[in-house]
Every structure is written in C-alpha cells, then in structure tokens.
Amino acid sequence: MTSTWTPDEPIVSLKDVHKSFGDLEVLKGVSFDVMKGEVICIIGPSGSGKSTLIRCINALNDIQAGSIKVEGQEVNTPHLDKLALRKKVGMVFQQYNLFPHKTAIENVMMAPVLVLKQSPEEVEVHARSLIKKVRLEGKEDAYPGELSGGQQQRVAIARSLAMNPDIMLFDEVTAALDPETVKEVLVTIKDLAAEGMTCMLVTHEMGFANEIADHIYFTDRGVIVEHGPPATFFKRAKDPRTREFLSQIL
C-alpha cells in the first residue's frame, strides 16, 4: 500500500467512474483531476449525480467501474484502507450531522481522541483553536440544538478539520441554511481555501463558486457536460445544457 504520490501529481484523480443504484445509473463515466490546493466547484441540476460523485471520493458510496485515486491510493478496491482514506479526506454534509448529545467542543474532539488515539489534552488545545478559526469562541460548551444552522455547520467544518485532512469535501453545505447564515459559512470556507486547503464543493451558490473556484464542473445526467475556470465558464459557456441551466439560475 505504499503510495508514490508526489504533490505535482493530481491529489484526487477520477477516471471513467460509473456508479449505479440498482438499475439506475447515476454516474456514467466521470473523469477529472484535482491538484493540491485547488478549489473546485461542482454544479448542476438536482439529480445529476453531484452529491453521489463527491461521496464516492471518500468511499461513502462504492462505485461499479472506473478508478478514483486519492493521493495516489486507489479507492475502488476491496482492500481499501478506509481509515487511512478518511484521515486524508474530510467531509461536511448538508444536514450538518453533528452529534446532538455532545457539546461543540466534544464534537470536534471526538474523532481525534477515539480514532487517532491522541491525548485529550493536546486535542483540546487544537479543538479550541479550530473553534476560534470558525469564529465560534464562547460556543465551545453549547449543544448543537442550542446553535443556529450556520453555527452548527461551522462546528461541522471544525470537526472535519480536527482530523487534519488534506482534502475537504463540501456537499451542499449551505442548502439547508437560512439565507442570513449562509454567508458566515461561506466566509469560513473561503478562509480555508485561502490557506491552501484542497476543497471540492457541490453547491448552488453561483456567486460564491465564481468567486472562490479555480475550476468549475457542470454535471448533468451523470456526465460532466462542461468545465473551465469561472471566468470562461460563466461568460462563455458553449454547451446548450449549461447555458440553459445558467440562464435559469443567474
């Protein structure tokens, strides 16, 4: 399982990925590469396979054919070291999925203490700095039920960061939020991207995608229809499906 990956190779590399749920083929041959430190946004209509695509990268969904490599390590193999993969890849969900019986700081501390077996004292110092980073000082001892959606989502981001991942996946993280709390979450993601974190986002926030992304992928019916840097993608989309989608949204 020795990985020969070097930072000048793609950190995430998808080749001809096929994914089906029963008879329904959701991904019909998706390929793309992400370089270290890159921020990519995946956009597209509902049901086009965006979320499935991102979930395949940390093996929450298995794939039927093709190859996904994370830091040179193949994900689509029965011998996958899931622990190693998930230490590298952090994920944030639409519904936050915080553990409701634990406080904010406990949510952040749980995985490093239990999974990585780090000492609770060290983890707590790190966790407090992460809570500070997502601008939630003073909320360390609040339970998720006492926090707003935006605050919960920021705790969820801190919780993922506590594992020191190399790549962060964001699955429509602002879709369940009130409009006024969307911004605080986006600012947090922007900070992360500015620090050089490799980020992959599924999003409906076109303005944000335009601002933050290095590269945008448009998916429809299980394939990548069009992609490019935001400047060309938003202004000079060539494919009629992309144009139609953008005209509906912008």
Partner: protein
C-alpha cells in the same frame, strides 16, 4: 397537545434544544406524583372500595369474630415477607421482577444489537430468537423452563439446588429479553442515517459509532418503553405462584385457606392488589411523564 407546549409558548410540535440533564429524575418529580390529583384519586378509590367491603362485612357478622382489618393485619407479615426464616411473599415478587428485568435487559441489549448486525447469520438468528420469545405466552414459558431446567446442578462435589423462584425468574426474563431486543432495534433504526455517515466519514469504526454515537442517543428513546415493560413484568410475577413458588399470591391463597372463610376472598386479594398498585402506579406515571418530555424534545 397542550401539555407538550413546554417553554416554547406554542403548542406546535417544535424541536426543542437538547437539554443535558433533562432525563434526570429528582425528588421533586416523586413529590409531584405523590401529590398529583390522579394518583390520589386512584388510591382513594381503592381504599374506599375496601372500607365499604370491610364495614359491610362487619355489620353482617356483628361483633362476634375479628374484623376483616384485624385479619388483614394478622396475615400481612406473611403475605409481605413470606414464612419466618424463609424468603417469599410480595417482597419476592419485587425481587423476581428486579432480577428478571436486569437479566432480560442485559440479554435483550445484545440480542437487539445482534438484530442490527451486519453479519447476516447473527442478524437472522437474533431475529428468530426475539420473535420466538416475544410471541410465546409467558405462562407456557414458565412451565416449560420449570420442567426443562434441572433441580440440581453438580459442580465437582458440591450440589447446588436450583430453586423454583430462580428458574421462574429466568423464564420471565426471556420475554423481557425479546421485547428489550425490539426496543433496541427500533431505537437504533430511528437514529437518522446522517449520524452513521458523519461518523463513518470521521473514520469511526462501526463498533465505535454504535457505542459512542448511536446508543447514547437511543437511551432517551428506550427508557419509557423499557419502564413500561418493567410494569408489565411486575404485574405478571404472580404467575409464578402457579408453579408453587411462595410469592405474595401463593401466601395470600395459603392465608385464605387457613382462615377457611370465603368472605375474606375479596378483601384479601384487594389488599394484595393494592400493594402492586401502590408500587407500580408511580412508575407508570413517571413513564408517561418521561414520554411526554421526550416526545418533541429529541
């Protein structure tokens, strides 16, 4: 729905914030039950009906023999604690209910976890065992285990007698096991899949996810139905009298036989019944209170 409104000022089923310690129970809650109108009314009803029977009887027989009250007082130590130097009576019913509940809960927890196992064989086996004991009459189970289990166990040279009440307790723990198993399965299934997914993406193993994340959230959901089954179990413990165990029921029958007067039949059984009632009713009220508290406060 009014009783659910709580501190939110609305009677809509709104999501309340998680309050640590909401599940704790303190002396005020007990005081609340003891002084609650409904409890007082029910207790008064039992006592009044008994006094009516007592006075009617006293009038009937005149002052010649002892009153029903005197008879009850005379037999109470036996009915409550069993014959002198032996272990029995109503206290035995309570002890049996405790042990059967503890045993049934322990076995049921593992059985329930087996039912949600990813191993198909374990899952199937636990499902079959659960269904078997959930759908068997308790009395049949009692007879079955009374005859199935040996009277003695030989460990080396020592011969240990397996007493009737121990066998009965084991038999009663089996339906409790099966029902606790279903409670656990249901509670685990009711936790949103997002909890499993986020734990998985944080590299938790399945066992860690289950014990650290899923089960702690299940406890609140499991406690009310679990307490409900405790009440049902306690009410069912007099069944063991049929097997000759000297519990409260058996000794009440013995006392009646010793008195040899059918007029005592109703007050004696009413007397025993009131003990069960006084023991179980607060638990039932407490259960309802917890159910209401947890209904929207998940």
């Amino acid at each position: 729905m009014k009783h659910l409104s709580g501190s939110t000022g609305t009677d809509l089923p709104v999501m309340l914030p998680f309050r640590p310690g909401a599940a704790t129970w303190d002396a005020r809650d007990w005081a609340g039950i003891a002084t609650s109108k409904r409890f007082g009314l029910a207790l008064a009803l039992v006592l009044i009906s008994w006094i009516l029977v007592d006075s009617a009887y006293a009038q009937m027989v005149g002052g010649k023999s002892q009153t029903v009250w005197e008879t009850l007082v005379k037999w109470t130590p036996l009915m409550m604690f069993g014959p002198q130097g032996q272990f029995g009576g109503f206290i035995l019913n309570i002890v049996v209910s405790f042990i059967a509940m503890a045993l049934g809960t322990f076995m049921g927890l593992w059985m329930g976890l087996g039912q949600v196992s990813t191993n198909r064989f374990i899952k199937r086996a636990c499902w079959i065992v659960t269904q078997l004991f959930r759908n068997s009459p308790w009395l049949v189970l009692l007879f079955y285990f009374m005859l199935l289990l040996p009277f003695y166990i030989n460990i080396g040279d020592t011969r240990i007698e397996v007493s009737g009440w121990a066998k009965a307790t084991f038999a009663l723990s089996l339906p409790i096991m099966a029902n606790v198993s279903e409670i656990v399965r249901g509670a685990v299934g009711s936790i949103p899949t997002g909890q499993w997914e986020s734990a998985e993406s944080l590299a938790f193993s399945r066992t860690q996810t289950m014990w650290r994340i899923i089960l702690p959230q299940c406890i609140k959901r499991m406690v009310p139905p679990w307490m409900n089954w405790y009440c049902i179990l306690t009410m069912s413990t007099p069944l063991i009298s049929i097997l000759g165990v000297a519990d409260g029921m058996t000794l009440t029958q013995d006392a009646l036989a010793a008195e040899g007067r059918s007029e005592y039949l109703i007050p004696m059984y009413l007397w025993l019944m009131s003990w069960f009632f006084i023991y179980s009713y607060p638990i039932a009220l407490w259960t309802r209170k917890l159910e209401n508290r947890f209904a929207v406060n998940q």
